[in-house]
């Protein structure tokens, strides 16, 4: 059952003993949403426990976070294993999977789904115990969203579907743990927020002598010389200034933005660009986009497209211009670019390695060569 923010807050307010669950799936970053819920509840003197499964004791409410859609099995494992103490306890589900595909929980007993983000909870300082429960180096970061939403409506992206409003969190500075050396800003399109807001972030980071990582990539079309100059004041984590070259239509705009950043003095090693492939693109387009990053001296990160409703990671989606082997080899080629630097991708798939290590067949080579 879908619920509104006010109903979710009411559920939290009416519960004295709450269990927060991050299901058992692979992840690097801490569950920010749960960390904020913990603070919200503890400020109201509620008892809160954090686990990866339902514990054998009675709770008034169980909050389960979700991540990628293809981790759905881990989420359902939690829902199916409620144990004896909580067979009738209300379960509140939020996070990415719940926001994109709330209907998959329709049949689940006592399950309430909250889509998107809550402005009330977003203003809570994340609980340090949950935030520090990550491995090195991820425990050296403060994780924040200073703003939500994105004005773009890219077909391959989920942000505009779950973060419909543009909103700047007025309390974002309080979310930063000043005892940590690094800040990870996960705004989905920071460059599309005002220049004043970006300047404020830069000033704060510089004043507090922190290193920064813009995790979700800057939108190249919004990068100006002034913005590049401001950004150059920052100290970046390696590959911390992230961009995206997802579509061939951005050809020219992307290169111009990178040049502006480089000319402003941002080191090449601080930059990285996501390169989406296996969507509606052609392999040669994808190669051109990744190669352009490489020629500009920045690292391309090959991002394999999976449909937003993929519930099982083993069911591999193959884009209409791709083959499975071509997609896998393309990703390997760019991730291991240092090893294959003397060969183009076409030469690589024709090489002994391409054929023996990746099982490339003539059909894959033909697919690559096929004209658009």
């Amino acid at each position: 059952m879908l619920i509104k923010e006010s109903e979710m807050i009411e559920m939290l307010d009416n519960s004295e003993n709450v269990l927060l669950i991050e299901p058992k799936y692979q992840k690097k970053y801490p569950p920010l949403g749960l960390a904020k819920i913990k603070t919200y509840l503890e400020e109201k003197n509620k008892k809160v426990k954090f686990s990866d499964q339902i514990l054998p004791e009675k709770f008034d409410l169980i909050c389960v976070t979700t991540l990628f859609t293809y981790y759905s099995k881990a989420v359902f494992d939690v829902l199916k294993n409620r144990g004896f103490f909580n067979s009738n306890t209300k379960i509140l589900i939020g996070g990415v999977l719940a926001s994109i595909m709330p209907d998959i929980f329709k049949e689940e007993k006592n399950v309430f789904v909250f889509k998107g983000y809550s402005k009330i909870l977003d203003q809570c300082i994340p609980d340090p115990d949950i935030m520090n429960n990550t491995e090195d180096p991820w425990n050296t970061f403060s994780y924040i969203f200073t703003s939500r939403g994105c004005p773009n409506k890219c077909a391959y992206c989920t942000v505009w579907r779950i973060e419909k409003d543009r909103w700047v969190n007025p309390s974002w500075k309080e979310m930063i743990d000043l005892s940590k050396p690094n800040i990870m800003i996960s705004d989905n399109n920071l460059s599309a927020v005002s220049m004043e807001h970006l300047k404020e972030i830069i000033d704060f980071t510089v004043e507090n002598k922190k290193k920064i990582l813009f995790d979700n990539g800057f939108d190249c079309k919004h990068i100006t010389e002034d913005m590049a100059k401001e950004l150059s004041r920052l100290k970046f984590i390696r590959s911390g200034m992230r961009l995206a070259f997802d579509r061939i239509e951005e050809d020219g705009i992307f290169q111009k933005a990178v040049m502006m950043l480089k000319n402003a003095g941002i080191p090449k090693s601080s930059m990285m660009a996501y390169v989406l492939f296996n969507f509606t693109d052609h392999p040669q387009d994808a190669y051109y986009r990744a190669r352009s990053c490489y020629d500009l001296g920045i690292r391309p990160y090959p991002q394999y497209y999976r449909p937003l409703n993929t519930l099982d990671k083993k069911k591999i989606f193959i884009g209409k211009h791709w083959t499975l082997k071509l997609g896998r080899t393309f990703r390997h080629y760019w991730l291991m670019r240092g090893i294959h630097s003397k060969m183009s991708f076409e030469e690589y798939i024709n090489s002994k390695d391409g054929k023996e290590k990746h099982g490339i067949k003539m059909e894959d080579i033909k697919t690559y060569r096929r004209k658009k």
Binding site: I54, N81, R82, G83, F84, S87
Partner: protein, 330 residues
């Protein structure tokens, strides 16, 4: 000494040898002069064996040799820091190591045994802990990873099912790591003692199996056994199904799945060897019920009772001595 006697002792002690360990000597047998001992921090097993030497010998090498030798008699002695084993036809010498740290830990276990007050175990102790152990959450090292013994009660739960057995006599409270129960039962313990950090079990031959103590609380699962539901008579034919399924059941984790739907009871088992399904008619036409159970447990229960009670969210099998409660969300 007789080769088969030594082999039997090594077989008993072997479960205490660590598989993957950073501490080399934990994968070695320790000959203390009075006993042969295995120690891996979780368990320690010591069996009486008088020797003229004190040393650590690589467990797998020694065990493999003794099991492959053909002679009835063998001689063991220390020579220039090595363990020499001689039979009529074979002469073998094994490198040995010394490890003061592990030796002192073994000594600590032995020391605690001196103060131990041995009590008799009920005759049905081994059967009870064995039957309950399948319901424990074996990946856990906390109380849910154990069989909990308190008074005459013996129980285990992974929070999805609860196995309960009533023993004939009382014992002191203890949590026994479920992963160690199979090896413990193989030693056929008849007495127990509880010291500060260890649970000790002794068999008739004086072999001592020590398991590190787990402390904590066990959730009160017994409250959930009391509920009303539809009572279903399980057909006796399912014993045949269990026997047939047993052909391919894994020894390590024996488990069958029982599914009841549309008046049909299916016993399913899947292992590396293959898959078996056994079908029996049953007088139940309600919501589909599915549960996993240790086949020995179900068979044992079927000898006492053939009734199960099904409610919306749980199901129980109950006899005078054994009960199983399963959450039906699974």
């Amino acid at each position: 000494m007789k080769r088969t006697d030594l082999l039997k002792i090594l077989e008993i002690v072997k479960p205490g040898i660590a598989g993957n360990t950073k501490i080399e000597s934990m994968s070695y047998f320790f000959f203390s002069g009075k006993e042969v001992v295995s120690y891996n921090d979780k368990i320690s097993i010591q069996h009486k064996l008088k020797t003229d030497f004190k040393m650590f010998v690589k467990a797998n090498d020694l065990y493999s040799l003794v099991s492959r030798l053909k002679s009835d008699e063998l001689k063991m002695k220390e020579e220039k820091g090595k363990l020499l084993i001689k039979t009529e036809s074979t002469k073998a010498s094994f490198s040995t190591i010394s490890d003061d740290e592990v030796e002192s830990r073994v000594k600590n276990v032995s020391k605690s045994l001196k103060k131990a007050k041995w009590e008799k175990l009920p005759d049905d102790f081994c059967n009870s802990i064995s039957l309950c152990s399948f319901a424990a959450e074996k990946e856990q090292k906390n109380t849910l990873g154990c069989v909990y013994v308190t008074d005459k009660n013996c129980m285990a739960s992974d929070n999805k099912r609860v196995a309960f057995a009533k023993m004939s006599e009382k014992v002191e409270d203890m949590f026994i790591l479920a992963t160690e129960i199979k090896s413990l039962i193989n030693t056929a313990p008849v007495k127990y003692a509880i010291t500060k950090s260890w649970l000790h079990f002794k068999n008739k031959e004086g072999c001592v199996f020590s398991i590190r103590k787990v402390t904590g609380e066990f959730p009160d699962f017994l409250q959930f056994f009391d509920f009303k539901g539809t009572v279903v008579d399980l057909p006796k034919e399912i014993i045949d199904g269990i026997d047939i399924a047993s052909i391919i059941i894994s020894d390590i984790e024996p488990m069958i799945t029982v599914n009841i739907k549309n008046k049909v009871l299916l016993i399913n088992v899947k292992s590396e060897s293959g898959k078996i399904t056994h079908k029996t008619k049953v007088d139940y036409d309600g919501e589909e019920v599915q549960f996993s159970i240790n086949p020995s447990f179900l068979k044992e229960m079927m000898t006492y009772s053939s009734k199960i009670t099904i409610a919306d969210d749980k199901m129980k099998l109950e006899t005078s001595n054994f009960s199983l409660l399963t959450s039906l969300y699974v």
